[in-house]
Symmetry: C2
Subunit: 281 residues, 2 copies
């Protein structure tokens, strides 16, 4: 197995797959010398390479675990470099454009797009953990081209590291995650930006116990990873943002007009949705 | 000591003050029979009353711990009912209007407005805990009328239950908390509302691991408490909201125009502010 990108997700998958005995040998590819060193030291991979070309030819399976723009960019080189019969999957948070790039590069159906829902406050190979995927939803979004046996082999990989595999259509995945993941990140980044804009004498962030702190995990996410996600899923993110602006309008109108009943009703509805999330298994 | 409102904050203060030996006897006032029963059973208070009138006449200190609209509404009755020399404080999240109401009702300076920064996902007397204020910033916002000896006695109460006392002007407190607390709550409630509006077949909230879940503690807050806060601190909340809409505009423009550099720079700046919060003692 070759893993391109040995950050939190790629590094954890290498470690977990090795510990579960799912793969004979894991090669990790990273342009960062520091990340390669950490991945080797922590045993996330058996070998670490700067360049893709080396390990591709000996791979049965290639997992693309870079930021999403690099996944589409690398796809043709990966398709050219792998042996006949080798499979390719990815872990990107946007699926439509990646599915299309994979179908183009591997029209015989050996690409199976994926997205494990696992995260942590910290990123990078230092934060990688063998149990990152235990109980985590691991979404596969097979395209019309994806071969059933390839889908089953990728599903077996994720089940083997503890994930709960489910399948979604690529377009529906991107619509869904625009609202439940991309929009919340945008909202949290924008909130930090607004507080910074209001900042006076560096005093505001010191009092963040009252609510702001809950947003800090999300706003601490990697800017490059999220730049790619927002741009690649632009239409769906903008659709979710428009809906969110509508919700802000409803709250603002109720506050501005002093309509306490409308305000309490909006919050009670939001709270009920939150109860569903909080008590979800 | 009489505590009006035996929810999370009022109930925890009763329990903590009794355990620290700061008060001889605590009376709790609540219109809710269920909350009175819980407060008595858990020993948060020594006696529980439905009506204010009873315990006021025997109180050295009255703590108003209801939603903020009730604090201003009850102030005249409290001022009329307490003995000469008794002090009054509160724990409300908005300070300007409450400070003004207290100065009007008690022009001799026996009202000291307060705001302990302590919260939990759950509210109500069942969630009360003696250590809730351990290490918590407990803000006092004395008015021009507040007597220095009264301020010192209230400060001693909060220090006695483990709080770190600091003083702010009421107007600056409301400006500050509009941005670091009230706005984040508004943002989280609106986010849940937007996801509900986008909901299709009840499927979205099931995938909330990717970011939405971090907002759920905030969106689970009490609608009545927050209705009062948003309405009482309306001008400052609307000012913060306007700043936040400006931040959303900056992100939206960068996404719409595909300006990845601007987008990454906005997120890097937000992430840096978050680092300051996350590593704050």
């Amino acid at each position: 197995m070759t893993i391109v990108g040995v950050g939190l997700i790629g590094g954890s998958l290498g470690l977990a797959a090795k510990q579960a005995g799912l793969v004979a040998r894991v090669a990790g590819v990273s342009r960062s010398a520091a990340n390669r060193a950490v991945a080797l030291r922590r045993g996330l991979v058996d070998e670490a390479c700067e360049d893709l070309a080396g390990p591709l030819g000996a791979s049965d399976l290639v997992v693309l675990a870079t930021p999403v723009a690099a996944i589409t960019r690398l796809m043709p080189e990966v398709a050219r470099g792998i042996p006949a019969g080798a499979l390719v999957t990815d872990v990107g948070s946007v699926k439509g454009p990646i599915a299309a790039a994979g179908d183009t590069a591997l029209p015989d159906g050996r690409f199976v797009p994926g997205h494990p829902i696992a995260g942590k406050e910290r990123s990078g190979p230092e934060a990688a953990a063998a149990d990152l995927f235990a109980g985590a939803p691991c979404i596969l979004t097979p395209t019309a081209h994806s071969r059933p046996d390839a889908v089953e082999r990728i599903a077996a990989l994720w089940r083997g590291v503890g994930g709960a595999v489910l399948q979604l259509e690529p377009a529906w995945h991107d619509d869904l995650f625009a609202s439940v993941s991309h929009l919340p990140h945008l909202v949290a980044f924008a909130l930090m930006d607004a507080v910074l804009a209001l900042e006076r004498d560096g005093r505001r962030v010191r009092y963040s116990g009252g609510g702001l702190r809950d947003f800090t995990r999300v706003a601490g996410s990697d800017p490059v990873m999220w730049r790619d996600i927002f741009l690649m899923n632009r239409d769906m993110v903008l659709k979710s943002l428009a809906e969110y602006r509508g919700a802000l309008d409803r709250f603002e109108t109720a506050i501005r007009t002093g309509d306490g009943d409308a305000l309490a009703a909006l919050m009670a509805r939001a709270r009920a949705a939150r109860e569903e999330i909080a008590h979800r298994p």
